[in-house]
Symmetry: C2
């Protein structure tokens, strides 16, 4: 669209990102010895935007590098011009063996429905070029701040509220998968989960992945979020980390915080994703909206 909204931000990404995630093994099938991938960003800039790369055991694990959009355009134009063009690649990336890491979990016990859990969270890990301020430092701050506001405002939740700072979303969603696996093993009942993983921008909406009945119930909460600037509650994606809980509790309501994210991919997985790129007022407004939604679903679900 001419003027994309917060609903459009992740559409182009989800449709194009296989060039990065599966480009290497696909190219290896045709004998490529390396791949250079145009960065997944709408911005014309000089920064490499990186991300997960998959390999197939039956095919060579060829090197894969992200090119900035400026460099990719230069390379493309140079190739088109017919000039002889050679690339020399130098990579310092290494695959290390897996190591033990942890989700960080805090809990406020429910006063009435102690055995029914509402999880809120974001993910702790990030791609190491920047600081991961938008992806997903903002989600961590939103989650911690929602809990702080709950304590500050002396709210005793109906359900048990769990704040989970997920580890390793970026490289296989191990934190989210492990959290769901433990939930299943323990027979936990998760009625809802909220995630913030779309940046620390001005909050605009919530997207909800739930049954039609539950979606309708959550949508009815919108007027109570008016003051927080939440304009819309719509059917959509919850979040990567909380997603696996759906297999454990198919009736779960998954809720994603949706900010004005049209500049998200200026920063995503790049050197530019630093704290200075996050506006403090927008970050605080996001935390407030996240907190208010948490209190509302605790009361109403």
């Amino acid at each position: 669209p001419m003027n994309p909204s917060y609903k459009d931000t992740f559409k182009a990404y989800s449709e194009a990102v296989d060039q990065r995630s599966n480009g290497a093994w696909q190219a290896a099938r045709f004998g490529a010895i390396a791949v250079l991938v145009r960065s997944m960003t709408l911005k014309k800039d000089a920064y490499a935007h990186t991300g997960a790369v998959n390999y197939q055991d039956s095919l060579p694990r060829i090197p894969a590098m992200a090119l900035s959009t400026e460099d990719a355009d230069w390379l493309s134009n140079t190739l088109k011009s017919g000039v002889d063009c050679r690339a020399s690649l130098q990579l310092s990336a290494t695959w290390f063996a897996d190591t033990l890491s942890h989700n960080v979990v805090g809990e406020i016990r429910g006063t009435q429905k102690r055995d029914e859990i509402i999880t809120i969270g974001g993910h702790l890990d990030s791609w190491d070029l920047g600081e991961g301020a938008h992806d997903d430092g903002a989600g961590i701050v939103h989650s911690l701040e929602a809990i702080r506001l709950m304590k500050k405002n002396k709210i005793k939740p109906v359900h048990t509220i769990r704040c989970v700072l997920f580890m390793n979303e970026e490289n296989g969603n191990r934190g989210g998968l492990t959290y769901a696996k433990l939930a299943a093993e323990r027979g936990e009942k998760h009625i809802a989960a909220m995630e913030s993983d779309r940046g620390g921008f001005k909050p605009e909406a919530f997207s909800v992945d739930a049954s039609e009945t539950a979606l309708a119930a959550v949508k009815q909460l919108q007027p109570q979020l008016d003051k927080s600037g939440i304009k819309e509650i719509y059917a959509g994606y919850g979040g990567v980390d909380i997603g696996p809980l759906k297999k454990v509790n198919p009736g779960i309501v998954l809720i994603g915080l949706v900010p004005e994210s049209t500049l998200y991919f200026n920063y995503h997985h790049a050197e530019t994703d630093v704290l200075e790129a996050v506006n403090p007022d927008h970050l605080q407004a996001g935390a407030q909206a996240f907190y208010e939604m948490l209190v509302l679903i605790d009361k109403n679900l």
Copy 2:
């Protein structure tokens, strides 16, 4: 509000800016020999945000300097601590004599109502610390691009369309006042004017200063602007440059382009207001919305 919207951006500014515009002469009344003014920005940063300062002929024209918010907080805390605190001021600013300058005007003659004029524009001048990219380079681009799109799409307007790049908005609105003065002298009939002077951010709405009847008519155009991402048309301010036309043609419809401006004062009148702070997609989307509104009012007014 906790999560300010595009409607709130200029409210705080308009209520606080008299500290800068009238602080010097007010302080002079009490014997001050200079004033240091906290910058008009919500952002905590190290940049001085400047702007117009008024004096009174009957009072000393004492020096006035903008302090960055970080410096102002430091100064305030230092003063509170009771430490002996002295300031040494060095200013290079000078009042030069007025000199001749010009609005830049282009015109497409109307096909049916040639004598009825619709003006669109922004202002050419800016405070000289940065480049004036948001204030108001963006408005200039929106205006030029609206005319370019009109020609490209071979639209023959009903009314005469005038694109005016106003000179000297920042220091007394001389361009806008002179344009209106000439319009009066020539007996011109101005039925509408559109201004973009709120930055090159993602377009969200239009604010309209008009009679109730005309406002209702313009509001009805909103669905046709849906695709441009324009969510709302509401009663509000038109713009500084086009404002004086109202005295010439009281029935005029004044329309301001309203972008997602909550970060506007991060850049306003500061070294940070440079082209790099403008997102090209947002700038283009603003021009598209400005153009579409122009075509709609030309057809419907």
